[in-house]
């Protein structure tokens, strides 16, 4: 299968983050084309045609999202680039911002033109401070080059960009929580609907897209939506950056077309399981995605539909690989602790439920577990699912109950053979 480089084409060029390199390699031509030859509606149509789906996790159609912005609201509209990459396993937006920040900036400007926004924000997680500096440098270069600010390329279109730092909170990756944070508040998610395209930042229509989603837009405008869609599958267009971590010989970030076989990715691109061991399980879309058995993983393809059919998801494209030596109870416990730590505390099923799951898993790991704890944990996770204010609760549940369904023996081992239990459990 061919592996075209669309998003990572510039990653290995020296000074790839500089405007000069970006322009030399076709940069800002898509913006020029959009501003001079296309109406905002044309841009949205082209993005719809491309079958580009959000790279942050939810996988919603980007073009459709843009088309939801009302044209006659009489309010200002905004574009937000979600650079709060925090989903465990995910480290791909980092590379775009470090190696090719202008691709993201050009995507933001095209999105702003499409929805008539004159101000855009790039919300970068606080831990990525060095990237904030690179991105700010790129925005200033783009401003000096006439791509950001007033009357862009003499077209009469104005758009400014503000780079905004987060300060350590996973929930800010959730779009409405991010908007609360950007408004200078605690990042409590908002009830949806209304959706941000209608009532978003400052109560105004707002489009919020992931870094990789926006960086995919310039090549779509330049080469056409059909070209992009054909790189992937009918419903999941294009290529994608997959962040592979865990027990493969060569973990890393790989650009692969949508629909690429997971088996080829693991055994060819990533060099197989470390030390010739066997594959045990894969978490395919960041820590929130339900776990896959080795058989499921080796049979699936890397696109939204294939993983949805397995009742999992491609999420943020973070592929976590676990070999036969992995203690899945420990893995699930660590992920459960993460969600308990990151729960914003606003709604009860998530605030209480995530902590109860941690307590039950601690009981199992310390050898004090009972058989009924497995059912209790399972039922608890099922009761969190679908009952919370935002998807964080669902994610926490998804990290737990499918693992019990598929790897029950791993959990039972801690009840029937207490000798395998850890003598001490790290403090939560």
């Amino acid at each position: 299968m061919e592996k075209p480089k669309v998003l990572s084409a510039r990653f290995d060029l020296p000074d790839s983050h500089r405007l000069e390199v970006y322009r030399r390699t076709g940069g800002y031509r898509a913006l020029e084309k959009a501003l001079r030859e296309m109406t905002p509606e044309d841009v949205i149509e082209e993005v719809k045609k491309s079958a580009l789906r959000g790279r942050g996790g939810a996988g919603f159609s980007t073009g459709l999202k843009w088309s939801f912005v009302p044209k006659d609201s009489g309010k200002p509209t905004y574009v937000i680039c979600n650079a709060d990459e925090s989903e465990p396993g995910t480290c791909k937006d980092r590379l775009i911002m470090e190696k090719d920040p202008h691709a993201m900036i050009e995507g933001i400007l095209i999105a702003a033109y499409a929805i008539g926004a004159h101000l855009a924000f790039i919300y970068i997680r606080g831990e990525y401070w060095y990237l904030k500096e690179i991105v700010e440098g790129a925005v200033e270069e783009a401003r000096a080059g006439g791509y950001v600010g007033a009357n862009i390329l003499g077209s009469g279109f104005d758009c400014d960009i503000i780079v905004h730092p987060g300060a350590g909170a996973y929930i800010c990756g959730e779009e409405t929580a991010l908007m609360e944070s950007l408004e200078g508040k605690r990042a409590y998610p908002r009830i949806k609907p209304p959706f941000p395209a209608v009532v978003g930042l400052y109560g105004c229509p707002t489009i919020i897209n992931n870094v990789e989603t926006l960086a995919s837009v310039p090549p779509i405008i330049l080469n056409g939506g059909d070209w992009f869609r054909r790189l992937g599958t009918e419903k999941s267009g294009g290529t994608r950056l997959f962040a592979v971590s865990g027990h493969v010989e060569r973990p890393g970030v790989y650009e692969l077309p949508m629909g690429y076989p997971m088996k080829a990715m693991i055994y060819e691109d990533c060099g197989g399981i470390r030390q010739g061991r066997c594959l045990k399980a894969v978490i395919p879309g960041g820590s929130s995605a339900p776990i896959l058995t080795a058989e499921e993983a080796e049979a699936c393809t890397l696109d939204f539909e294939s993983l949805a059919a397995l009742r999992s998801m491609l999420g943020s494209g973070a592929i976590i690989i676990m070999d036969e030596t992995t203690d899945l109870v420990k893995v699930v416990y660590r992920i459960a602790r993460f969600y308990a730590h990151e729960s914003c505390g606003w709604c009860v099923p998530c605030r209480e439920g995530t902590r109860w799951m941690v307590k039950i898993l601690e009981r199992l790991l310390s050898g004090r577990g009972r058989t009924r704890d497995l059912d209790l944990l399972y039922d608890l996770a099922r009761n969190i699912f679908g009952t919370t204010h935002c998807p964080l609760g669902d994610a926490a549940a998804w990290a737990v109950y499918p693992a019990i369904e598929k790897f029950r023996a791993d959990f039972e081992k801690y009840v029937t053979q207490p000798t395998v239990a850890l003598t001490t459990v790290p403090a939560g």
Binding site: P76, E85, S86, E87, P88, G89, T90, C91, D93, R94, L119, R125, G126, E127, Y128, W129, Y130, I162, H164, P165, G166, A167, G168, A169, Y170, S181, L182, E183, G184, K185, R186, A187, Y202, A243, V244, S245, G246, H247, P251, G252, V253, I283, S287, A318, I320, I321, M322, T326, K330, V331, R334, I335, F338, H341, E342, C344, A427
Partner: protein, 156 residues
Amino acid sequence: MTLVPVEAEKKIDEIIARYPVRRSALLPVLWVVQRHVGYLPDEALAWVADKLGLTFMDVATTVSFYTMFTRRPLGRYHIQVCTNVSCLLGGCEEIEAHLKKKLGIGFGETTPDGRFTLSEVECIGACSWAPAMQINFDFHHHLTPEKVDRILDALP
């Protein structure tokens, strides 16, 4: 008041002027203040509240939501060890044990000389290069106990 130097205040005024709504500048302004003061004591929150036309409680309740804002002084080097799933699979337990032994402190503690604070953090986005840590804002990847020694020994 000398809590925030004149230069920093100038930078803060520039930041505030960029935003269409004043309160939006709260996180970036807190970052500037934390960088200059080292942490966010009550006086700093009061100063920021005054600057943005907010109440002390507006600022305090926002600050407490975000793990990177600190209400207490940290060591000169804040070592933040990721122990989330990819780093766990990559062997972060060995790194954690090594750091605790080497520094003689646990997570959330600072060495008596004020040089190091050790913290456990959630995913820092270094999953494909695990195990990883950050010292202040610098990333360190593919850690081994020996590499940790080299990194710490080379700090000025």
